[in-house]
Structures are given as C-alpha cells and as structure tokens.
Symmetry: C2
Subunit: 174 residues, 2 copies
Amino acid sequence: MKRIAIDMDEVIADFVPKHLSIFNDKFKDNITIENLKGKKLRELRPELKNEIINILTEPAFFRDLKVIKDSQEVIQELSEHYEIFITTAAMEFPTSFTEKYEWLKEHFSFLNDLNFVFCGDKSIINADFLIDDNARHFKRFNGQGILFTSPHNMNETEYVRVNNWKEVKEYFLK
Amino acid sequence: MKRIAIDMDEVIADFVPKHLSIFNDKFKDNITIENLKGKKLRELRPELKNEIINILTEPAFFRDLKVIKDSQEVIQELSEHYEIFITTAAMEFPTSFTEKYEWLKEHFSFLNDLNFVFCGDKSIINADFLIDDNARHFKRFNGQGILFTSPHNMNETEYVRVNNWKEVKEYFLK
C-alpha cells in the first residue's frame, strides 16, 4: 500500500483566515487574502514579523481552526487505498502540540493517532507522496511532492499542484 | 551526511527506574530491574496493565527523567559526522508532548529542535539508522535498526545490539 503524508495548516486546517483576522484586529490593518497572493503575511509586513509569529503562540490558536473543504471526505476515501499519515511542522510552534493533537482527534477521528507526526524538518518523512503548501519541504523529500494551493504559494511553478481536495481525489483515485 | 534517528525513553531518557519506583510505591510491590529481564512491567503484572500505563499520564512524568549515561557526550560527537534526529513514539502518550520537548531542550540543547520528531508508527522515519529499545520499530524501518539494551529486550537476538553509549560511539566512529 503506498503512503501519503499530509500537512495540516493550509491543507486540512484553515489557518490563513483566522491568522489574518487576528492580525487585522490587533494592528488596525486591512490586509485581505487577495493581498497575500505570492507571499506570507510576515513578508508583507516584515516590520511586524515577531508579532505575526507571536499570534500563533496564543493559547488555543490552532484548536478551533476550520476544516478545509472536502478534506475529511476525501482523506477518508483515500485511506481505503493508501496509508495516510498527518505530518505537521509542529516543532516551529511547540505550544501547539496538544491543540493540534486534539484538533486531529476531533476532525479526523477515523485516522489512527499512531499515524500523526509532529516534526520540523520534513526530510525525515518516509512516504511516497507529501501534500503540503510549503514547497521548501519537497527539496529533500524522497517521494513526490504535491503542492496544495495557498495564497502564499501562487507563484510556485516547480511542483505538481492541486487547488482543492476534489483535485486531490482526482489525482489519486482516477 | 548519513542520518541517525534516536529514540528517547530507555535510550537517552532513563525511563525504567522512575516508572518502577512509582509502581512499587503505589502498589506496595517489590519488583526490581532484574525481574524485568526479558519483559515489560505490564507483562509481569498484566492485571494492572491500565494502572501501569496510567502512571505515564501523570503530570510531568517525562519531564525529570535522568539522562542515560554518556548519551549527551556521544550524541554531540556523532552530530559532527551524522545528521541526528530524535524520534520518539510520543503519540502513545499525548499528554507528554510538552514535557518531552522541554526535556530535550534542557538536556540536548545543542540539537536543532526542527530535528525532533513526535510520532507513533516509526516506519514513517526516513533515516539510515534507528537506535531504539523496541525491536518492533525495526520491522518496517527501511534503514539499519540498532537495538539499545534495556531490561525488556534482553532476549531479542535478531538485531545489532549496543549495550550503552560507549558502544554506540564505537559502532559509528571507529
């Protein structure tokens, strides 16, 4: 059985709208998702880089993120044909471990939690495919990287791209 | 640069003495490390299996474990010649994430925390070597498994064995 590793933030957990809304509230700004095309928030407001990262360390930031459309249904279907692992760069935000674990148990209860991986450098992941919004993780990954569209990666052209979970299903099950 | 993945409990963190001492106190028992040769505590007292596991979910159980002798010095030396990742089956004890992270930051501060991996099924680990006390993790591991001696694995004969960190150094640096 081939193995698919799947990232969390911006792939199954809808990270950007919450992050942006807290940022705009806090700094009386008006950045839209449109403005984020091709860049991350910290690149758009480099003078606030630390504050932007600090938002992610607020208690429970990751706990109530919305689930990305169709990800539950498609991953459930994929899990009948592939081994599924969730691989998230949680070491970048060590306060997020428990929140991320609880979020997965709530929204992806059909997955085995022994298949959850909290890591940093994803070159440690042994899988046939990695679905991720950060192309940097593909550089040293030994399987096929699949870029999940997110505003910041719009200009990336080097990798196979999927725009939503319907396209993921198409890629793996057609 | 070749990569070595290293387990935590019973390899760099001295898990058994603390676990045993809490168990003996709690259940007025007198089990010694000698008694554990060839088996785990839960196999020796199967009627208390749940209680034995519950000890590990007590707040901060993992936070103050002693460091296994010579592991810091040898890993520091190995890190000059190999890429080092710490790979621990933390998903079995989801309450342990923060404790394990803080323990690593305290005792192995020379390692990059992006090289810490909290997982369950270690077949997800992409490394050349895995030093672990649980031989079951080697079954689907695609590199060389190296069994670190712990009372419970004394009778395991299938894998390369190291008895202490001096032997690890010998194996990798001689």
